[in-house]
Amino acid sequence: MTLTTDRQRVAAHVGGRELARQRAFRSDALETSVLGLLTVTVVLFLLDGGGPALTVGSAASRLEALGRVTGLVGTALLLVQLLLAARLPWVDRTYGHDRALVAHRRISRVALPLLLAHALALVISYGAQRGLSPALSWLVEPIYLLGGELPDMLTAFASLLLLVVVAVTSMNLARRRVRHETWHVVHLTAYAAVVLSIPHQLSNGTDIAGHPLQRLWWLSLYVATAGAVVLFRVLLPLVRSLRHALVVEAVVPEAPGVVSVHVRGRQLDRLPARAGQFLQWRFLSPGLFAAAHPWSLSAAPDGRTLRLTVRDLGDHSRRLSRLRPGTRVLIEGPYGRFTTDRRTRRRVLLVAAGIGITPIRALAEELVSSGTVGPDDVTVLYRANDADSLVLGDELQELAATGALQLHLLVGRPVPGSWLPPGLAGRPDGDVATLRRLVPLLRTHDVYLCGPPAWMALVRGDLRAAGVPRTQIHDERFGW
């Protein structure tokens, strides 16, 4: 090793700590903006006499005030959800797309109940003002409202119904039964739901209709959200897809039920794709064009081609094996922050299970070819249920054979409560000791982790038990 490469080695990974600091700052800024958004929303309500309206007066009028404030806060949260799913580069760089979507899901568990409470509270309150009992009004009052007593009620009720459908089809139980493509189309109607809810806010909203300040506030929120969605979810992917004119170059079987798709395009060196990232891929061929799927790059981008490797999970990925060379490809992305930018140490441990090997394989390639690591600095642990499912295993073995990295293949059926295969799992001194034996100087490694969520939780637990700081553990969640 020359002096130059030694210096490069140092330089390549000190950036990770600075990056972590910036990320902490950015996440503070983003979370503070959300807090500010909610605060301003409630402040505008309170300035308009919302406080006394909530606490003083008849039950019906207090219920009406409650209906107003739940509607306002619920809508604000709904917009935050849209922004989290809008692929904003800032959000992706700060949280990663996977965590942004986790937050998106969590917020929906608050936003939807609030919006349901909004509708129910107002319906019962209006019913009470008409002299209907709550037991009756939730059923009867909507008929009056939909009958034209208030404008724009039809769209408002349709909006709520759509949101309920979107939420129900996204529940874990339903996700397992609904095809990804169906779910995706249903999920996109959430945009329609938000748009459908706008007219009744402008025409009836006690807090919006006729209040210049509140109107301005809400209109700017809508315009900003719509702008972000159109720019980052539609225009940017379209521009990138057109600029790079991607087509399928080859489809290569890797293992039973696993194929690699090689994609080539123009000026791919200008696509800011990194090893460890994923893209949403949409293949323009019959039966495939309807939905885009998130698949990781399984090779470090070389500026000329991209490669993704897909395991046979559903109808869609099965059809991939019949893709013809020359098929056009649209992309969204690249997304994700599972990249070597996050390195804080020179040594790197890459841990993968199953098809989670795809980004790990790309990271290994990038690290080895970067010249920033020595021969003993990179270790790969690759867990698979049997030898047949060791996808891309031969490529890793080639890298290991040149001495560029240490490779441990952990093959065998799943062991309950352990991330290790039979034989290594459940040794008397525990999985943590086994991990330490497999990876000398474990604590001085950055760890990149990718696999099924339950398996990753086990690995993460043992890494923490072995003393690896949380800031050195980076993971990518495959929710698909």
């Binding site: 500010g36 006499g49 006394p52 007066g57 209006y126």
Partner: protein, 159 residues
């Protein structure tokens, strides 16, 4: 979020909410959206003006006289949900009746609210013998318009 930022943000948010709650609790201070369309124009005391009835010119405040009973029509006050205008009937120095000339009517719901609030506002005016009346909950704008129009009418009465 780092705990220092979270603490600071929470404190700021709590302060903003508290202040806005207090400000909002007193809508007459500066309630957005309520404004007097016609200022009550003080008139010479005993002009022989035509009766305000008939809607020929409801906007200027007017005063009509019938024996010891006087009627004073208040200013037309605009709110986001429609205009509010009341007429006050006095006998001597007593307010004997308050009649709604116009109430918020932007949509059926605000008509419902008006119908609900008007009797209560009238009752309050009669019992307090002034425009010093409490807001009927759920009818903040109607109440505020009512109060302003009533005050304008009483200003004429006392002029």
């Amino acid at each position: 979020m780092r705990s220092r930022t979270a603490l600071l943000g929470t404190l700021l948010a709590a302060a903003a909410l508290t202040i806005s709650w207090r400000e909002g609790a007193n809508p007459s201070v500066g309630m957005p959206g309520v404004h007097v369309i016609t200022a009550p124009a003080p008139r010479p005391s005993h002009s022989s003006s035509s009766p305000a009835a008939g809607g020929s010119s409801p906007r200027p405040s007017s005063r009509s006289t019938t024996s010891a009973t006087h009627r004073y029509t208040g200013a037309l006050v605009g709110t986001p949900y429609g205009d509010v205008q009341v007429q006050v009937v006095t006998s001597g120095s007593r307010i004997t009746d308050v009649r709604a000339v116009h109430l918020t009517d932007a949509n059926q719901h605000s008509r419902d609210i008006s119908a609900f609030a008007a009797p209560r506002l009238k009752q309050e005016a009669l019992s307090s013998q002034s425009a010093n009346i409490d807001t009927v909950s759920g009818a903040t704008y109607t109440s505020e318009g009512y109060r302003q129009s009533l005050q304008a009418a009483l200003d004429q009465a006392h002029a």
